[in-house]
Symmetry: C2
Subunit: 175 residues, 2 copies
């Protein structure tokens, strides 16, 4: 008999271009790889923890077309963005339920690398999985920064999954 | 029924101070962690590939007390060092046989980070596991360089396992 399941945290984000509720290819890829290569058929041996970090724009506004007239509007904005994040997580939770793997999922806001490491400290998973696009210069720098920071600072082993060049979508709208 | 086992390459090295045939604490730790948290009881679902890279000293001589008088002496030196590396691998192969996990092990010489990435390209494992000491400044820089390079350049997902401060031996001779 095995003891407690291995708790694997996956940091997932939305598609750069399609936005919510679409998961990024690198997030889907990291999830599918984890199930295929690590969990395999040992469904009861693992529990997946999905963390989505919402990164506010530099000025703190996600939706430039909205009009903010009262503190209530900001509250609604936050709720709305949180709902978007929850739809993203729903994708992964549904998949886990289909497969039969226990899971938990939650949303936090802030700087992705800082929040991920803070959540690792708080929830103490056995393993953190971070996907990485390996795409154009901007994404490489950005995603590289998050994964490099986590490899150095997260208080648990970290697996970095690079996307292969052949997995980069022809049409960036699919990313 | 599951398909081919997940092939996990572990880059292992000898104790910094005790030398061959003693495995480093970080190598042992990475191996034990992989078995406990990834393989768990699914022994037939995984195959472990142990790679030990022998790093020549800067001047190419490991043994300053030996006298080299002919090309044969160099040949013997190489065989001797290779034998040391094999003793190191024997530790891990024995453990796998006790547990019942399929494995392979081999020795290569050269620059650790380059050789590891080259062997990943050649043998195409599903996952590369690299331990890291997280010790004093020299080791941190050295091991950090190897694991950082592999995270960026190895053509497969890479897991970096840092050693916890509490696992650093009181007596460095045990490292």
């Amino acid at each position: 008999m095995e003891g407690e399941p291995t708790r694997v945290m996956l940091a997932v984000n939305e598609s750069t271009i399609k936005g919510y509720p679409h998961a990024s290819i690198s997030s889907k890829g990291a999830f599918e790889w984890t199930v295929d290569k690590i969990v395999r058929s040992n469904f009861s041996g693992f529990k997946l923890l999905f963390l989505h970090v919402q990164v506010p724009d530099e000025d703190g506004f996600e939706d430039m077309d909205s009009i903010y007239a009262s503190p209530e509007d900001f509250k609604n904005l936050n709720n709305r963005n949180k709902a978007k994040g929850l739809h993203l997580l729903e994708y992964f939770v549904d998949k886990c339920h289909e497969i039969g793997i226990a899971c938990e999922a939650w949303v936090k806001r802030g700087d992705a690398k800082e929040v991920i490491c803070h959540e690792v400290k708080r929830t103490q998973p056995d393993l953190l999985v971070v996907g990485s696009r390996g795409l154009g210069p901007f994404q490489r720098v950005f995603v590289g920064t998050v994964s490099e920071f986590c490899v150095k600072h997260a208080e648990c082993p970290v697996i970095t999954i690079k996307r292969k060049a052949c997995e980069t979508p022809q049409d960036p709208v699919d990313d």
